[in-house]
């Protein structure tokens, strides 16, 4: 018995590291929810700039694209940051995970108590979905009043295998047994991934009726609305999230972005400044601050902001975008030569289609002048 306990404890140790994985999987969930969003959010600016005629208006709309993108990446990096530590811990566990859990056979009387731990180990550490599903079925066979959690996990397995319908079924079953925020979230993620936003919103509503003002569900709802292009509705939900949890970065960033496009850069500036106070500084936030300053006519702060952005930026793409925005700033100042230089800089760092088009327009303009 003692030996068994120790073994279980070792398994438990293995589990200790594994337990960080659920968050990772949820990150994947939310990432799934997020990935279609840039595409949809692009639609607006792209249609706006379609064949824009004059050279002066074109870069402006282009920078709007940039704004969206940078705000997105700000969110992504922010959420990533908070989980960076856990990811690091999780990453090491692969090599160290010491146990092969053949000790605990199905006949053992300790099988049921440790089954959940075992499942997580197999699912996350060994990433053997089939074996994990075997465990689930074994448990279901042995225990008639099995937990809701098993259905939930089964849905997770089906989801990873791409069997969305089966997954939906098991989630609904699990929901019958028990109401838990995690099930709703998973359901929403599922619907989003099979591109049924309205059903997803329905699921959100059901969840919210069970858990009033639950931040993750509200956030999910806001994301779906945002994705569908209902910015105003999305902002309403984002505001609700921000009231519940004033330190939720995603909500604040989205409200700021909405204000920025709603021709209220002063308000957006205040939101961005609050974000700046909360997070470790990055290129996106400074870029957004710089753009806000530009539209607020706070000329003394524009260049310092962009300079900080350039200082913090590490990848070529964001650097290129920051230079593009700088070109826009230069254009607002009426300095065509400087604009051209900024655009050239942007293109030199990384190929960026709006920058290319803007550069062509500027060149034409300059030629026409001379």
């Amino acid at each position: 018995m003692r030996a068994m306990t120790i073994q279980a404890k070792v398994a438990g140790n293995g589990y200790e590291e594994v337990q960080y994985f659920p968050q990772n999987s949820e990150l994947i969930n939310s990432a799934v929810a997020k990935t279609p969003r840039p595409g949809t959010s692009f639609q607006r600016p792209i249609t706006a700039q379609n064949e824009a005629v004059s050279a002066t208006t074109r870069p402006k709309t282009n920078s709007a694209v940039v704004q969206v993108r940078t705000a997105q990446s700000a969110l992504l990096t922010a959420s990533r940051l908070s989980r960076a530590a856990t990811a690091a811990a999780a990453g090491s566990s692969y090599a160290e995970a010491p146990v092969i859990l053949r000790f605990i056979s199905e006949d053992n009387k300790d099988f049921l108590p440790v089954a959940k731990t075992l499942f997580e180990y197999v699912y996350y550490c060994e990433s053997n979905v089939r074996k994990a599903m075997e465990i689930i079925f074994q448990v279901k066979k042995m225990d008639e009043k099995h937990d809701w959690w098993w259905n939930y996990c089964l849905a997770r397995c089906y989801y990873t295998l791409g069997m969305h319908r089966n997954s939906e079924e098991s989630l609904k079953q699990s929901l019958k047994q028990h109401k838990h925020v995690a099930i709703y979230l998973r359901l929403v993620a599922l619907y989003v991934s099979i591109n049924q936003p309205l059903t997803a919103l329905d699921a959100c509503k059901q969840g919210l009726s069970a858990f009033h003002e639950s931040t993750p569900l509200l956030l999910e709802q806001a994301r779906i609305h945002d994705m569908m292009g209902n910015q105003a509705v999305a902002v309403k939900y984002y505001r609700m999230v921000a009231i519940q949890n004033p330190s939720n970065m995603e909500a604040i960033a989205n409200i700021a972005m909405f204000n920025f496009y709603n021709d209220q850069p002063e308000i957006a500036l205040r939101y961005y400044r609050r974000i700046l106070a909360m997070i470790t500084p990055g290129p996106e936030i400074y870029n957004n601050l710089g753009l806000c300053c530009l539209y607020c006519s706070q000329w003394d702060l524009i260049l310092p902001c962009f300079r900080q952005a350039l200082y913090y930026s590490t990848n070529f793409e964001s650097r290129s975008i920051i230079w593009f925005n700088l070109a826009h700033t230069a254009l607002s100042a009426g300095d065509l030569i400087l604009t051209r230089r900024c655009l050239q800089n942007s293109l030199a760092i990384s190929e960026h289609a709006p920058a290319r088009r803007a550069l062509l327009a500027i060149e034409m303009r300059l030629k026409a002048k001379t």
Partner: protein, 794 residues
């Protein structure tokens, strides 16, 4: 993700040992409670390995933080307090060791002398058991009124119940393999047990008691009052009484916080987007008050504190330490302080401050540099510059003289240009000054510096004024001024033997030196001058009714002679003596010596120039070579297939280093030319000076002076030898026309003047001219009448 930081009020950081063993503390090794000893504030009990420490934090007194530190026989796993003994007024301390527990009473002994009061732990009881303990919970199980019972959870999940030191019973759960969090609800006598299958089960004490008697014999399963499956492992459970009828059970999972009533009703579920580490729930107000609020403090893995009321986030701030345990305490002057135990064993009491954390710690590298940084950078740059131009630096310390030019105009002038011209080694700070629209008096200030260590040849400065009047008329006025002696020489008390000496007499009676040098004591007959730049000396003294000037070489003598003569003239002018004259006593040997020296210097100068020319030619060749190699190399680089470029590259590098070396040589050579020119111009000036004060008619001297044009040599473009050759032949042919001389002199060939032959001829020519001049001067002395004839001839 927080703006604020906690403000620390008290910490045991300074009381801690430096070496801290990781992992000797857990979340339950800190306990906050109140004892009789300290009624006004809470005590913090801390277990650290085998040591028990009791602190009483306060702000005012510095010394009384530690109430007690004791070393126990075994590792302390957990500290609990409660009333375990009936006949005791104070609360007792229970220490859980791996295989025993012990109960102590904290007491105070009056000090005998001045040592003060002494605190000590009085052991009350101790009990050993066999199973390894994991956790202890205490409480009035079974609604015991007067005392609290003890329940110890072992490492295998079994729960053993004790009353004082008596063992009551033991429970064994089939679902529990490793111990999970357990808790007790006093208001409804319930036990909360978290099983290994991640289910929270609630049993009453009565159930457990019955179950323990049944177990072993029958395999009957115990059915909990209610249970909840959170779908994740629970890490902590806390029970808090929220109303007179109900208590709240708060459980922390991996990602969620659950809140239940003790009848199984779920109040709310909270999902975090961070990893929670520990939490502490507390009630603001009393449970019997209707509007009391239940708040949760949750500590995240990145050491942030979040305070929630229900699902609403009220406050979030930075805790500054990684925290493994959090609770609240009430101490004097601070009700509701945060007690945190960090992963380094540091207990601190803090409160929620509002100092915003605006990333002030991160100093961006490309922030605008402060003035100090700029200063430092400038200093570095300046140092580098100084190294580069060291010589320029010297001029700052060199003697300088302020020149003030006072200009007065009678009428309005439109523009005015002043130029200052001085010979090496003197330079002027502003060589040209332009003034516009002057009416009245103007003072122009410039500085004259002494640079370089060459001989001083000419101490005159020439001022040229170009004046444009309002009418458009342009006037040019020039004026020669002697530079003051103090600029280039100073008086020293030093005597050394001098090879060269010159003497002169005046037609006036002997004059003491203090008349012409105001700073000398009266009746001085001798004085010595030292040149500031060359450190050579000139002695001026009175000897046998003659004024004698002595120096090592005739090169140095001229500036002093000139100055002295000037001073004499000035003196007698003031005395209004008109017929003052100076006569040099020149022996033919002396004249010969000077002329020889002059010619020697000219020769040196010519040789240096030749060398200079050679180097220039060499540099020219090298430069064209370098260009050629570059071109070839470029062709080579571009050729297909690429050929070996190494030899060419080597050649190029070699040429480059040659160019550098040649250039350096050229520079030193130029310097030598200048030095030589200074030398011969000094001697030449001396010659002219001597001639001036001899009886040779002025026009000849003037012609000679213009011929030699000693001022012009310093300009680099001037080729002195070439220009003088032409002029000197003119002198020879016209002024000093003598048949025999002419025959003796071969005409100068068409070759370069600096060529060996021509140079020799040139020197001879010059020698003849000078000789004849001096010859005349001596002749004149003997036969004054002949001079008149001579003049008539001319």
């Amino acid at each position: 993700m927080s703006i604020f930081k906690v403000k620390q009020l008290w910490s045991n950081e300074r009381l801690q040992n430096e070496d801290y063993l990781d992992g000797i503390q857990n979340s339950s090794s800190v306990k906050v409670d109140k004892f009789n000893l300290s009624n006004d504030s809470d005590c913090i009990l801390l277990a650290e390995g085998q040591e028990l420490k009791i602190y009483k934090p306060n702000i005012e007194q510095e010394d009384a933080h530690v109430i007690l530190e004791s070393h126990e026989s075994d590792i302390i796993l957990q500290i609990e307090t409660g009333k375990f003994i009936i006949d005791s007024s104070d609360r007792q301390i229970l220490l859980l060791h791996p295989q025993s527990f012990a109960i102590y009473l904290l007491e105070r002994k009056e000090g005998h002398i001045d040592a003060g009061d002494q605190n000590y732990l009085r052991p009350i009881l101790k009990h050993d058991f066999t199973r390894k303990a994991y956790r202890v919970i205490v409480g009035p199980f079974g609604v015991a009124k007067s005392r609290e019972l003890i329940c110890i959870q072992a490492l295998d999940g079994t729960m053993s119940f004790f009353e004082q030191d008596t063992f009551l019973f033991m429970c064994l759960f089939p679902d529990v393999i490793i111990p999970g969090p357990i808790s007790y609800v006093p208001s409804s006598d319930l036990f909360i047990i978290c099983t290994t299958s991640w289910v929270m089960e609630i049993y009453s004490y009565q159930q457990l008691r019955e179950f323990s008697e049944l177990s072993g014999r029958q395999n009957k399963k115990i059915i909990p009052q209610w249970s909840y499956s959170p779908g994740e492992e629970l890490s902590a459970v806390q029970v808090i009484r929220t109303s007179s009828t109900f208590s709240s059970i708060i459980a922390l999972g991996e990602r969620y916080l659950y809140c239940f009533q003790d009848n199984g009703l779920m109040k709310y579920m909270l999902r975090f987007d961070f990893m929670p580490v520990c939490f502490h729930a507390y009630l603001v107000g009393w449970y019997y008050e209707p509007n009391s609020r239940l708040l949760n403090m949750v500590v995240s893995e990145d050491s942030k504190l979040h305070v929630y009321e229900d699902t609403m986030l009220l406050w979030s701030c930075d805790l500054l330490h990684k925290t493994i345990s959090i609770s609240r305490c009430f101490i004097k002057n601070l009700s509701g302080g945060l007690v945190t135990l960090s992963n380094k064993g540091i207990v601190s009491v803090s409160y929620l401050g509002t100092e915003p954390d605006l990333n002030s710690t991160i100093v961006p590298i490309n922030a605008d540099p402060g003035p100090r940084d700029i200063e430092e950078e400038l200093k570095i740059v300046e140092e580098a510059l100084d190294k580069f131009v060291e010589k320029a630096d010297d001029s700052l310390h060199l003697p300088s003289q302020l020149v003030k030019v006072n200009i007065e105009f009678g009428k309005a002038v439109e523009s005015f240009i002043e130029e200052l011209d001085s010979n090496l080694p003197f330079t002027v700070s502003d060589s040209t000054v332009c003034l516009d629209e002057i009416n009245g008096t103007e003072i122009v200030e410039t500085r004259i510096f002494l640079i370089g260590d060459m001989a001083i040849s000419n101490t005159h400065t020439k001022f040229i004024f170009t004046i444009t009047e309002t009418s458009g008329q342009i006037n040019v006025v020039s004026k020669n001024e002697l530079l003051p002696l103090a600029l280039y020489a100073r008086r020293v008390e030093l005597n050394s033997d001098c090879e060269f000496n010159m003497s002169f007499t005046t037609n006036q009676k002997y004059l003491s030196f203090d008349n012409i040098f105001t700073d000398l004591p009266p009746n001085t007959n001798s004085t010595t001058f030292l040149y500031k730049n060359t450190n050579k000396i000139v002695i001026f003294q009175m000897k046998e009714e003659q004024y004698t000037i002595e120096a090592k070489d005739c090169v140095e003598i001229f500036p002093i002679v000139n100055n002295i003569l000037h001073r004499f003239e000035e003196y007698y002018r003031q005395k209004s003596v008109n017929n003052f004259e100076i006569a040099f006593n020149m022996t033919p040997e002396l004249i010969k010596q000077i002329i020889h020296k002059f010619l020697k210097c000219v020769e040196v100068h010519a040789k240096e120039r030749l060398q200079c020319k050679d180097l220039e030619a060499q540099l020219n060749v090298l430069q064209s070579q370098f260009t050629l190699i570059q071109k070839k190399l470029l062709v080579q680089y571009g050729s297909l297939p690429p050929s070996n470029c190494d030899p060419l590259e080597f050649l190029m590098r070699d040429t480059y280093s040659n160019i550098i070396a040649t250039t350096e040589m050229l520079l030193t050579c130029r310097q030598n030319v200048i030095r030589a020119s200074c030398d011969f111009s000094a001697v030449g000036n001396l010659l002219l000076c001597v001639l001036k004060h001899s009886e040779v008619e002025d026009i000849k001297i003037k012609i000679l002076e213009e011929t030699l044009s000693l001022e012009t040599i310093h300009e680099d473009t001037q080729e002195w030898e070439e220009s003088v050759t032409q002029a000197s032949s003119h002198i020879l042919n016209t002024i000093l026309k003598k048949e025999k001389d002419r025959e003796r002199l071969a005409p100068i060939t068409d070759q370069d003047i600096l060529s060996h032959v021509n140079l020799k001829r040139f020197l001879r020519q010059t020698k003849i001219i000078l000789d004849s001049m001096f010859l005349q001067s001596t002749e004149v002395k003997e036969k004054i009448t002949r001079i008149e004839e001579f003049v008539e001839v001319i």
